[in-house]
């Protein structure tokens, strides 16, 4: 196609703005547009001409879950889907040891191992252990400092119709941070400010499916761990 013919350029710009170009033609057109400011201008003009049709679509409020999915989707950007293998292996090793001391030692080893590492390596913020001291959940900070990812280090058993809910406890009543998955790979992302204070306790309680109906823990606290100094 001759992309120099002014009339054809304008028509293609119009068809592009309409959404009528087939995928391959569209991709080629977008590449051209990237280096051709005049072509981009033609497209922008067409968009402005046609935009009133968009206004004729009756607005519909999307469900709240769509915003939550957007939030998770954008936060996800700074975290790997699962903790790096090294982290898991180290934890698997330490899992063999019972008692709180083992958990604390595991955290220290990991923390030291990861501390001065490459910038992309996640920093451990807290390890949540069960009552026997076995690490169950890990909170890590990713590339971007403002978010913390919380995920189990291995699949945790969870009864049907129940959820794990994460809480931050720093003096006052526990603050709900969201539902955390029982399987690795889908970390819950929480703002770092919620777990900023050293000594804040992160706790996971067993709640009815969907989380505590009262905004405070209603079931037993199964896992907990303190936020480490950093």
């Amino acid at each position: 196609m001759n992309y120099r013919d002014p009339k054809l350029r304008d028509l293609l710009a119009g068809e592009y703005a309409m959404g009528l170009l087939p995928s391959r033609t569209r991709a080629r057109f977008e590449r051209l547009m990237a280096d051709d400011a005049e072509l981009a201008r033609l497209v922008a003009d067409w968009r402005e001409r046609l935009a009133p049709i968009d206004d004729s679509a009756p607005p519909v409020t999307p469900p709240r879950r769509t915003w939550r999915a957007v939030e998770q989707g954008t936060l996800q950007r700074s975290f790997p889907a699962t903790p790096p293998a090294g982290l898991l292996q180290s934890l698997a090793f330490w899992r063999g040891f019972a008692g709180a001391a083992a958990a604390v030692a595991a955290v220290l080893v990991l923390y030291i191992a990861l501390g001065p590492g490459p910038a992309r390596a996640p920093t451990v913020v807290a390890v949540l252990a069960d009552s026997s001291g076995t690490p169950a959940f890990i909170a890590t900070r990713g590339e971007r400092a403002e978010e913390v990812a919380v995920a189990p280090v291995r699949p945790q058993s969870l009864e049907a119709q129940k959820s794990f809910e994460l809480w931050a406890i720093a003096g006052g009543p526990p603050k709900p941070l969201g539902l955390v998955s029982a399987t690795p790979g889908k970390p819950l992302l929480v703002p770092a400010s919620a777990v900023a204070a050293t000594g804040t306790v992160l706790a996971v309680s067993l709640e009815p499916e969907g989380g505590s109906p009262t905004g405070q823990p209603t079931g037993p606290v199964l896992f907990q761990g303190k936020v480490l100094a950093n």
Partner: protein, 170 residues
Amino acid sequence: MRGVVRRDRAAFAALYDRTAPQLFGIALRILRQREEAEDVLQEAFVAVWDRAASFDPERGSVMTWLVTVLRHRAIDRRRRRAHLEDRLGSEEDLLALTAAASDESDRGAGLAALQKCLAELEERPRRAVLLAYAYGYTHEELAKRLSTPIGTVKSWVRRSLERLKRCLDG
């Protein structure tokens, strides 16, 4: 929007609250299926967060940019449906565009001007333009829906675009 470029999450949430209902309405019109429209809305906003820095105010309003990001995704999703029949709806509300045009807001005024120019087109080419833009029809779908050869449909759209441009810019 500048807040979103600075990675300000509160600004992003405010942008979402302000624009999501209109965008969801647009996605629903193209996809006619709530779950798919929710997915597309979500993908579009994640893309907006990722690519906020590429927004160029010289090239049009924030809303126009958001609509562009959303429409491309909605149209792609629609095209991936296996059966042509699944993609064609009844679209009886094409006429509702006329009703919306009588709205006296600024946006209503823009639509009224476009509506006046659309009214100057012949009936079937006008339907082709509206089905394509508002409902995301491809040339192939337009041909099927309007029981007209695809070549004819293509030239209807092109001629309609030329006439709309003359009418709107003139």
